[in-house]
């Protein structure tokens, strides 16, 4: 039961993209088409699952002082492996994702989960958490890409949709459309989600480097002042 809760929290309640607002760069960049979104989501999920499992298994071995460099090396290793496999077996996906594939390394979700969950929990729980979070990421990407591709290009996963194909709104697949659709989705989550809209803006608590920056973020100071 606990495990199930652990798994589903990543999908909806703590959705990494729509609620925790992590990993915004790949979300905006690769959600132009459904196929790209699923590819990106799958690649990130694999990396997240592997890194969570390994970091959790090594949590007693890795000294606290060098834990961030260790995590980065492990994550970068998994990302490179995924990159090589994608290049070998899905070259079309590789050229579609381009630079965003190696940039999974700096995706805040992965380092964030390592820091917030995997280094405190058992291997199995961490695996479940990684899978849940990865699927949550994929789900959010899929949702955004569906909106952008359906209305922006008039196609779904490459197949033309009648009427919409002739009357597509190109701007949605371009950069401004990405920001706009993302804004709308978060507004919807705020409106229909059970929790209250976050008063605080894009803040420090979701940022994995918050600890190393010593809370010097402008926002954090303001929060403390209140």
């Amino acid at each position: 039961m606990n495990q199930l809760k652990n798994f589903t929290k990543g999908l909806i309640k703590e959705n990494p993209v729509l609620v925790l607002v992590l990993g915004t760069c790949p979300t905006l960049a690769t959600s132009t088409s459904v196929i790209n979104a699923i590819g990106m989501g799958a690649a990130a999920t694999v990396v997240l699952l592997c890194s969570n499992v390994v970091i959790s298994a090594l949590r007693k071995v890795i000294p606290d002082k060098v834990r961030i460099p260790c995590y980065i090396v492990l994550i970068a290793g998994f990302v490179t492996m995924v990159q090589m496999l994608v290049k070998a077996f899905a070259p079309a996906l590789d050229s579609a994702l381009g630079i965003y594939l190696p940039l999974i390394v700096v995706n805040c979700i992965i380092l964030g989960r390592a820091e917030m969950f995997a280094n405190k929990n058992k291997v199995f729980d961490s695996a479940i958490d990684g899978l849940g979070m990865g699927l949550g990421f994929t789900l959010a990407l899929f949702l955004m890409a569906s909106i952008r591709e359906t209305f922006g290009a008039g196609t779904f996963a490459g197949f033309p949709i009648p009427v919409l194909y002739e009357n597509h709104i190109s701007i949605l697949t371009m950069a401004p459309g990405g920001f706009f659709v993302f804004g709308l989705l978060i507004a919807c989550v705020n409106k229909f989600g059970k929790h209250k809209p976050k008063k605080k803006d894009f803040g420090c608590e979701g940022c994995p480097s918050a600890e190393s920056c010593g809370g010097s973020c402008e926002e954090k100071k303001e929060e403390a002042a209140k």
């Binding site: 490179t80 090589m84 940039l103 700096v106 803006d201 894009f202 920056c213 973020c217």
Partner: protein, 205 residues
């Protein structure tokens, strides 16, 4: 020379890292609330982009390429950038305390900034050394591209902090408060950059 100017202007306006390539969105949304922090952050990004390129480009050309270790690129680059940022922070703290005071707080945030890793990877991809180009020419192109990308980041940050200060205090629908309205504003800001597409090529044609 014209080619370098084209690279610079394209990096600032057309392929703007934040507004059209979606790199470095986190600091763009997080630190753009006030003009002074937006300026500080962007100056630190320009600085780190330049030194990161200056170090990673030779590493790729003289170390990874000849040894066929291209697959270690991501891991080497991220470690080099992380170490470099730490080193710069220590050096600044010791020798240029005034600069450290204004930029120092932003430096650790940059380690996991995808714009910096992105620029170093794109540089070795887009401006490789081959039969047609020497190392120094590729290096010059890369450095100019990094400078342009950094300046583009700076421009986007400063513009956006202006836009945000205009939103502040407005009556926004409840569910749009916070991030959604910021993203909507970002959409409009990035719309303005679409107008630059295709201009640079014809400027020198």
């Amino acid at each position: 020379m014209t080619k370098l100017i084209i690279i610079l202007l394209s990096a600032v306006f057309i392929n703007n890292y934040v507004l059209s390539r979606f790199l470095g969105i986190c600091p763009f949304l997080g630190v753009s609330k006030k003009l002074d922090s937006a300026t500080g952050m962007s100056l630190a990004v320009i600085f780190v982009m330049l030194i990161a390129t200056a170090v990673t480009y030779p590493i790729q050309v003289f170390l990874l390429d000849p040894l066929n270790l291209g697959y270690l690129q991501t891991i080497v680059f991220i470690l080099v950038i992380a170490a470099l940022v730490q080193l710069v922070e220590i050096v600044l703290k010791r020798y240029v305390p005034s600069l450290h005071k204004s930029l120092g707080v932003y430096l650790p945030l940059i380690t996991t900034n995808c714009a910096v890793l992105g620029v170093t990877i794109l540089n070795v991809q887009d401006y490789p050394v081959n039969e047609a180009t020497t190392f120094w020419w590729g290096f010059a192109e890369s450095m100019v591209n990094s400078l342009g990308s950094g300046l583009g980041f700076f421009l986007a940050m400063v513009m956006f902090s202006g836009v945000r200060s205009a939103i502040e205090g407005n009556d926004v629908p409840e569910s749009f408060k916070g991030l959604p309205i910021t993203l909507t504003a970002a959409a409009i800001t990035s719309l303005s950059f679409l107008g630059f597409g295709g201009i640079i090529e014809n400027l020198f044609a």
